[in-house]
Symmetry: D2
Subunit: 125 residues, 4 copies
């Protein structure tokens, strides 16, 4: 069995709509976090970390040939943890910063989309 | 307690030499994977994924103010899984590609450095 | 005059719709190039280079406080050159690869959007 | 003539030591800028922009198969402009921030290494 077939084992039944929604949510979250970091408020470090992780998560989903289900799960867990942390940091400013409020919403949407990916992968396995 | 203090809780006793070694290993692994991907062999997707994750991991360690111990642990687990996968893919070509052999070594060194980070963080907690 | 005011000098009259269109084109091009690179055809190195540059270009537009008009112009020139090169490489496969054809279209759209940014900035200066 | 040969035309006489020094300077500058941005001072936007560009510049040099001399020149010009801007921003804080002083030094070293690359490429053409 070739490397590619090993890598893809357990992924051939994936729901592409769920994966596309997750990639879109990662891209939107990277952008919201990048904009939010420019306020140089105390959530900026969380936003910069979250922006980089969301970009890496999105690219990994576009490069499934170079992923295994186990690595994908670990990446999704890390991305969920990062989005949760950034959302919490931005929610503390949501009352007085519209940018933080929108960033927190993007983080929540990305978290949810990553959880949908996990659930879909577990159902497809 | 401020956001920054919450974020740093449990990290103030970290061994900076262990963290510096991990950042250096991530940087070296990103570079080895980028070079290896240029061979356009069947390990290239794994190498591209690993390069991006190693860069994101390194930057997260440089932005500790925007991390919590739990998020750091999830990121380290994902980076370890990614390096292991890339190492395995490159090891299959290690006999005939010196570039793959060096890439696999960098992945192994990065995995080990991430495990050292995890052990150090658990001891410091 | 503060750093921020210096940095923004000459940018306060920018057309935000043109800039938003450019950021969207950069994001779309990064994604198309990342997908195209997975074919491991001889355009893959161009695609990887173009994907990274488009992401950096997009982020720079989101971080205008840390840009000057001259730096923005140099970045746009580099991004245009990168997109042109990647488009040319992918066009050679456009007849037999639908993915390459779509990648070339995204590169063309990104080039055009970067040129629109340049024209808008020169008109606003 | 294949794509790869076209891409490499004019680059086969390059001095690899100069290119390696430039990649090392880009990597060091990305790291210094990332650390400096964490101070959330008014140079942070410049530092974030410069960090991303230095990483993209470094990776482009590692993926020379997907570059042409003209694109490389445009990228080097953009990287030089970015480093100059970030150096200027950080130099304003160099008296009271050791981190800014070191960041400015890394930007200067990266600028110089990119200029060496340009000179070497013009001599090799």
């Amino acid at each position: 069995m070739s490397d590619d077939m090993k890598a893809m084992a357990g992924m051939e039944n994936m729901d592409m709509a769920v994966m596309q929604a997750c990639m879109d949510a990662c891209s939107a979250c990277e952008q919201a976090c990048t904009v939010c970091s420019m306020q140089l408020m105390d959530c900026a470090p969380e936003c910069m970390n979250c922006a980089d992780m969301c970009n890496t998560m999105m690219r990994s989903m576009m490069r499934m040939q170079g992923m295994t289900p186990a690595v994908m799960m670990a990446m999704l867990d890390a991305c969920i943890a990062m989005c949760q942390m950034c959302m919490d940091a931005c929610m503390e400013h949501a009352d007085h910063s519209e940018v933080c409020r929108m960033c927190a919403q993007s983080c929540k949407a990305c978290m949810d989309a990553c959880m949908d990916m996990k659930n879909m992968m577990m159902a497809a396995a």
